[in-house]
Symmetry: C2
Subunit: 441 residues, 2 copies
C-alpha cells in the first residue's frame, strides 16, 4: 500500500464535520477501496476550540484558507466554505496554482466560474471533484461523466433542491377531498415549519426562489452536453407563488407540483430552465417526495435513467466528498466536465420566449356574466387552444370572486405571456394570473 | 491526443452489434470523453457474412475467441459470448493471461468465477469491466464501486430482470375492481405474450426461475460488501407460482408483487435471496414497471439511493460496455470488486431458514365449518401471529373450494415452513399453499 493521501479541509461546518467523521469512522473500508489511507493533515475554520467529534490534534491549523491551499502539507484541498466569490474562489485558485486537485461542494462557485476553473485545473494536471455540489449523496456527476459517457445526452432534469421539494410535498400532504382545498397548508405556513425543523434557512430565498436549483442545473448542463457552464442563461422562477389551491387542483387533474431544473438540447440550442412544473402522477419523478432529490438523464443509447437519494445533509454530502477523494487517491484525474475544458462547446441558448408547452392557469375573476367569454376570447385571439376549464363552487353572490382553472394545449411561452398580460388587464380579473408549466416527459 | 485504444470484440449478437454501432455513431463524443479514439481492430463471430450495420472490413476476423483474446492486435478484449463456462471463460482467462483488460456483459461467468477472475486480472495489472452484466444501462457497478465508496453498505436490492418485471407488471395491469380478479391475465398467458414480443426467451427458465437475478445479485453482493462472490449461497425462488389471484389480493391489500434480489448484512453474516416480494405501493421501487430495472443501495452515510433504467436491450447494454471501455481508455484500472481481490472477505451466510419477515399466504380450502379454526390452530402452535385473514366470495355450496388469504406478522422462515407443511397436510387443503414474503424497506 502506498503512502497516504494528505488532505487539507477548509470549512468545518455541517458538511466539513461530517466529512471528517466519515473519513474517521470508515477509515478502514476507505483505505481498502482507495488502495491507501486518506489522512487529514490540515484544517481551516474560524473556531479552533469547537468540538467537532473528531480528533484534530495532529492537523496543521490555518486561519487563512488561501494560505492553507497553497502551503499546507497536502496533496488535495477540500473547499467547504461556500459562495461563488471571495475566500472560496481564491482558495480553489490557489490550490490549483500550487498543482493540487480540489474537492468542493460549492455549486455557486462552479455555476459562475466552472469553465475557467476547469481550464486552470486541467492546465495544471489537476482536477476538481464536485460530486457533492449537485444532488448531495447521489453519484450523478460520476453517472453522467463516466457511466453515460458513451451517450449523446439530449436532456437532463431533476428535483435538485430538498427544501423546495419538502415544502411542495408538505403542501400536498393531508390533501382532503377534491374541491375541498381549505385543509391544505399555505406556502408560508409550510416554510415556517421547514425553518423550525432545519430544512429551510432563516433566509430561504436561495432555495425557494430557485437559485440553488439553477446553480446545480448549470453544472449538470455543462457535464451532460459538453458545453461551457452558462448560469446566466438559466431561466429561473421559484415556488413562492404556488398556492394551496394550485396543489389541490393539480391533484384533482392528476398532477403534482415539483420544482424542476430542466436542460435540453433543442435543434442545436440549449434550453435551461427552473420553475414549478405540473408532473403527471405515475411518472417516476412524481413520487420523489420530501427532502429527496432525483435526476433523470436521457441518452441516445441508454434511454432514460433516474437517480434518487438524499440531496443534502452532513452524511450524504460527506459521502460525495469522500467518493471524490477516493478517486483522486486512486489516481483517477479526469477532465472536470468530462471533456477537456478547452474543447467545451458554446451552444446557443434557446430563450424562454421560444419555449413551448401546455399550461395550467389559475385566474381569480368576478363571478358575472361574460367574464369567461372575455377570457376565452383573449386565448382564442392568441391562438391558444384550451384543453379544459374548471370553475367550481360559485361565489356567494354575483359580482364576487371565483377561481377559474384553465389547462391549455401546447403553445409558445411568448403567446402565453402576451395573453396573460391581456387577461391581467381585464376589468373582471382580480389578481395577477397564476401560470404553471405542464411537463410531458 | 494519444493513440487509439484497440478493441477486440467476441460475440456479435444483439449486444455486440449494438456496441459496434454505438462506437461508430458516437465516435466523436466518445473520443472527446476518453481522450483518445476507440477503435475496433478485431472481431470474432460465427457468421462473417451477416450485415451488422457497421463496416468491419478493417478488422482482423477470428473464428476462435480464445485465439483472438491472446493474439489480436488489441489492448482490451470484449466478451459478449455468454455462459459461465466454455469459450467465454477460456477467452477471458486468455485475455488476462496476455495482460489485456476485459469488458464483459456476462453475469453467469462472474457469478460463478468472479473472485478467481478478479485475482487473475489484478495479478496481471488488468481489470474486468462488467457494468453491462448487472441492470443493463444503469451505471450501478460504478455507483457502488466508486460513487458510494466511502460507505459501509448494509443492504442492496433491486429489480434485476426485465422479463420478470414485465410479466408481473402485465399481470397487474388492467386489474379491475377489488374482489373481481377474473379479468387479470395468468402467468402463462403473459409469458406467451412476452415471448411473442421478444421480451422473454423461448426457454424462459433462466429468467422466470430467478437464476438470472441471482447471478446479478451475487455480483452486487461482492461489490457492496467487499466479500467474495458466492452464487451458491443465494436462495432462489422464481415467479412461476405467482397467480392472478395473488396479484389481485396484493393490490387490494396495498401491495404489488415484484421479483427482487436482496442482499443484506445481518449481524456479520450475509443474506442473499431472490424471490417474489410483496412491496408496499408508494415505495419507490413499487413504481418501477415493465422492462425497467432498479437497484436500491443503503449506505451508512449516504442513506438510501436508487438507480433506475433499462436493464436490457442492445442500446442500454452497449452504453454500459462502452462506459467501461472509456474508463480503460482513460487509464482507470480499479480492483474488480472495488477492493483488491485477495482482500475480499469470506462472510458467513445467513441461511434462509433464519430469515425473518411477514408473510402472505394463499390457501385453497374446502368451504366447511372448522377449516379456518384448524388453520388458525396450526399457526398458533407455530407461534405465528396473524395480522389479517380474508375470505371472500363463498363457494357455491358447502364443501366446495374457496381461497383464504392470510397476512402474518413477522416470523421466522423455519417456523413458517413447518406450519405450511402442516397446513398442506390438512384434509381440507386442496392445493399446496402459496407463500409470498412481504418486504418492509
Amino acid at each position: 500500500m502506498s503512502t497516504a493521501l494528505r488532505i487539507a479541509v477548509a470549512g468545518l461546518g455541517t458538511v466539513g464535520a461530517g466529512t471528517l467523521r466519515l473519513l474517521n469512522e470508515n477509515a478502514e473500508v476507505i483505505a481498502a477501496r482507495a488502495g491507501r489511507a486518506l489522512q487529514v493533515t490540515a484544517v481551516c475554520a474560524r473556531d479552533r476550540s469547537r468540538d467537532r467529534g473528531v480528533d484534530l490534534s495532529g492537523c496543521q491549523w490555518f486561519d487563512d484558507p488561501v494560505a492553507m491551499a497553497a502551503e499546507a502539507e497536502a496533496d488535495v484541498v477540500v473547499e467547504l466554505i461556500g459562495g461563488s466569490e471571495g475566500a472560496a474562489k481564491q482558495m480553489v485558485e490557489a490550490a490549483l496554482a500550487a498543482g493540487r486537485s480540489v474537492v468542493t461542494a460549492n455549486k455557486a462557485l462552479l455555476a459562475h466560474h466552472g469553465t475557467a476553473l476547469a481550464r486552470q485545473a486541467e492546465a495544471a494536471g489537476c482536477t476538481i471533484g464536485y460530486e457533492a455540489a449537485v444532488a448531495g449523496g447521489i453519484p450523478i456527476i460520476k453517472g453522467l461523466r463516466e457511466g453515460l459517457a458513451g451517450n449523446n445526452v439530449s436532456r437532463v432534469y431533476g428535483i435538485l433542491n430538498g427544501t423546495c421539494n419538502y415544502i411542495l410535498t408538505q403542501m400536498s400532504a393531508g390533501g382532503g377531498a377534491p374541491g375541498n382545498p381549505v385543509e391544505r397548508q399555505s406556502f408560508e405556513a409550510v416554510l415556517s415549519e421547514a425553518q423550525r425543523l432545519g430544512y429551510a434557512e432563516a433566509d430561504p430565498s436561495f432555495d425557494v426562489d430557485g437559485v440553488d436549483t439553477a446553480h446545480k442545473l448549470a453544472i449538470l448542463t455543462a457535464l451532460a452536453f459538453g458545453c461551457e457552464v452558462d448560469f446566466d442563461a438559466v431561466f429561473v422562477e421559484g415556488i413562492r407563488n404556488v398556492s394551496a389551491l394550485d396543489v389541490s387542483y393539480a391533484e384533482e387533474l392528476g398532477y403534482c407540483i415539483k420544482l424542476l431544473g430542466v436542460a435540453q438540447q433543442v435543434n442545436g440550442a440549449v434550453e435551461q430552465r427552473v420553475h414549478p412544473c405540473m408532473v403527471r402522477i405515475g411518472q417516476p419523478i412524481a413520487s420523489v417526495d420530501g427532502v429527496f432529490n432525483a435526476v433523470v438523464a436521457d441518452g441516445d443509447f441508454v434511454d432514460t435513467t433516474m437517480y434518487e437519494g438524499r440531496g443534502a445533509g452532513a452524511g450524504p454530502t460527506a459521502s460525495a466528498v469522500v467518493a471524490d477523494l477516493i478517486d483522486i487517491a486512486r489516481g483517477t484525474v479526469l477532465p472536470v466536465f468530462g471533456i477537456a475544458a478547452d474543447r467545451l462547446s458554446r451552444l446557443p441558448t434557446l430563450p424562454m420566449e421560444r419555449h413551448s408547452c401546455a399550461y395550467y392557469l389559475r385566474l381569480l375573476v368576478l363571478d358575472k356574466p361574460g367574464v369567461i367569454a372575455e377570457v376565452s376570447a383573449v386565448l382564442r385571439d392568441a391562438d391558444i387552444s384550451m384543453e379544459s376549464m374548471l370553475q367550481r363552487g360559485r361565489a356567494q353572490g354575483e359580482g364576487e370572486a371565483v377561481p377559474v382553472i384553465i389547462m391549455t394545449h401546447e403553445t409558445s411561452e411568448a403567446a402565453m405571456r402576451a395573453a396573460l398580460d391581456r387577461i391581467a388587464g381585464l376589468e373582471a380579473t382580480l389578481e395577477p394570473p397564476q401560470l404553471i408549466r405542464i411537463v410531458d416527459f
